[in-house]
């Protein structure tokens, strides 16, 4: 019983750290999608604000979000680095 439980724990831990690494791979892809493709038009739209201000706020918003995500990720990924 306890053995099975610890197996599950190890499994879960492995899955968690794998997931973290996968998110690390996906983060720049998300960044590219948001910052370089026409997807942006979905967010800016044709509201009363001028496209320049909309784009400016959008870019800085995405940028800040990416930095925050990178910060959270790096704090957990740093333990996966084994320096000699």
């Amino acid at each position: 019983m306890s053995e099975k439980q610890s197996f599950d724990e190890v499994n879960q831990k492995n899955r968690r750290s794998r997931k973290k690494r996968e998110i690390a791979l996906i983060l720049p892809v998300i960044g590219v999608l948001l910052l370089l493709t026409p997807i942006v038009k979905l967010f800016i739209g044709s509201t009363e604000t001028s496209p320049l201000i909309g784009a400016l706020l959008f870019i800085f918003g995405v940028w800040a979000a990416l930095i925050a995500a990178a910060f959270i990720l790096s704090r957990s990924l740093i333990f996966e680095i084994r320096d000699k």
Binding site: R21, G31, V32, L36, V40, A55, A68, A70, L77
Partner: protein, 888 residues
Amino acid sequence: MLTFNILVAICLVYVVILFMVAAIAEQWAQKNKLSFLHSPIVYTLSISVYCTAWTFYGAVGSAARNGLEFLAIYLGPTLVFIGWWWFLRKLVRIGNTQRITSIADLISSRYGKSNLLAVVVTLLAVIGSTPYIALQLQSLTLSFAVFTHTNANAPSPAITAFLIAAGLAAFTVVFGTRNLDANERHHGVVTAIAVEAIVKLIALLAVGIFVVWFVADGPTDVLQNAEKMLPETTGAFTPRWVTLTFLSATAIICLPRMFQVVVVENDAEKHLATASWAFPLYLFLMCLFVVPIAVTGLEILPEGSNPDLFVLTIPLAMGQDGLAALAFLGGFSSATSMVIVAAIALSTMVSNHIVLPLWLRRAQARNPESDDVRSILLRSRRISIAGILGLGYLYYQFTGGTEALASIGLIAFLGVAQVLPALLFGLFWRNASKWGALVGILVGFTVWAYTLFLPSFDGSFILPNHVLENGLFGLSTLRPQALFGINIPDPLVHAVFWSLSLNTLVLITLSLMTTPKPLENLQALQFINVFGRSSQQHMPSQISTSEDLFVLAQRIVGRAQAARLFEDKAKEQGKLYGLPDPTSEFIVTLEREFAGSVGAATAHAMMGQISGRETVSVEELIAVADETAQVIEYSARLERQSKELAETAKELRRANDKLTKLSQQKDDFLSQVSHELRTPMTSIRSFSAILMSGEEVDHKQFVRFSSIINDESQRLTRILDDILDLSFLESGKAKLNLQHKNLGEMLEQSIIASSSINDISKADIRLSEKFASVDLVTDADRLAQVFINIISNAIKYNDKPKPIIKIDLEEGQNGIMVVISDNGPGIPEGEHEIIFEKFSKLSSGGAASGVGLGLSICAEIMRNLGGKISLRPSRTGATFAIWIPKKV
């Protein structure tokens, strides 16, 4: 009012502070007080060398002219850094394990340590960086000019630029080439750069805060103004936007100075984790106030003011001299840090890949050990730094102040970006080959020069106007800004597309067509599998003595470090003192250490020169073999193991057979012994029974019977004695009574002893005179026993009327041979094998008495004495050869 003189004084004080910071950091580094220097913050700040004066001043200018376009220059690096886990981490790991010293070194090392490739990349980097350095000189000169246009005594821009270039060269020489660190790390410079990073960030933030909250009425006011003042088009999310992001992402990896701070100066991989968010944050903060400054500048400053200098001119216009001075210092920091790092990176490349190989070739006839490589390296680096800054200055002189220089930043980016395909494919595709990389880079570089670099001079340099309009040789397909007739409106996008796609295409095609050399394959594997469990370290083997290596190491990495390296290695090999063995693993380590100072290609060439060859060993070949080959190798190993098992089984069977045979022999022996004992026992019993019966036996018969009983019991005793003697000898417990003895004497005594057993009166015994001069250390009694046995056998079994026995001497190197031959009947051929066996009696020798233990005892005695007795084939008679060692 800020005067030019005050400004110069501020700069000088600032430089002195930088000097001190760098000097203290160097001292700390030497005393190993590195905790602060090793912090990820210093690493992150040093990466900010990306933000040059071009971005410090130029970003505002760009925002005023082109809207949001400038942001792309910062988003590219952001994307690279948040994706650090899959690219930068690998790059840094490779940089650390392979002791990479520059981008040229990395490319050359990946493609089989090719120096040709290193030279091409170095030249490319110098060509791509020179305009950039000129740009920094221009920014500095312009910012000085802001303060000097009212001052008649101020020096002209040309002189200012020259003084700046000279000052920067001096600073870089002092701190960039003070020592040749094994890892090519410069703690002093990096720390100074980190300080500069803080200064420029604070300066820009201060100006920004001042503009938003003191000049304008807060952020909303600025944003409302932005709609009016900035261009209509956003400039974002266009093909040019994508291109710029891509180019800047490339620049953060490929620019020599960026490679220097990100990869070469990296102390620990985990610093990347911090930099992954901290560096984007730095860029974010640098950009935060760019738009407000641009908007406010456009609003409050007179029409026609240079937007590139708004950062300076707004505080000046508002009468904030202190803030203006801070902004000036920020620009000064941006420019100086870029120039210093670029000069260090380029000088390393030039000296490692161009100067040193040339010197090595010149010194080919001599031994590389005989010259001081260190001093040559340092000197060449200092000269290169001066040369690079000189080039930058010259470039500034020829194009300064023109449009050409202002737009050169992005053009230079693309020039250096030609390295990207070779780098990317090199890290992820093992078949990427040296020729593919080389030709790809050259093609990309040519296309870049033809479509972007030369046209940027507007027909005044090499490419005339009519070529720009009508194409080379009048062929419209070759129009520089519309290659193959495809019209891409933006020349930059056009050039990026064609140069990089042709570059990549050539790289892939040639890589598929060529077969790489083993060394190239090996390097490819080490680069691609850098995260593999164990890096295989097969490299040149057993090439030279440790002394040669030590001398060479001293010349390159310095005496102290070489000594430490060799001591550590010796300890690791379990030697308490002396030099370590030149194992192949050690040689690989050494080559890496050297590579840290002189670059992979040169280090490899030096090791090759000292060893006199540049071959690749079988282990390396196996290491580079593809999976199939590895499977084959594995199955070969399995086969070898199963063969070994079969061999062992065979041996076991053999041992078993031998044991069975021995057991059989023992049984035989026992039955023989019983048989031998039984015969005399039978006669003793029957004759004693007759005597006991009390029947009348006459005296004559009585004597006969009792003498038979006596003889038989004597024979019984002899057999038992022999058996005991033999088993004693066989058990190995026999103690030898060693003494000096003359062999001649020993033989004479043996002959006399034999005469007591046999009648030797008629025998002719010819003893060689040579024996008299032979002295031995041996057990004389035992040896005599052997001689007596052989001699008496020779007489006993002789059927000739006059037995002749010859005793001769043959001398060998560590022993002598006593050869005893007779003229008797000899030993039948079929029985040569068995005469030394126990109880072996010759079929022919029936006449004589004996139990057949004599010769076995002789063989055992000789074995105990370390010698040997054997039967020599001869035509007449029997010849025994007794080999006796000079010393037991």
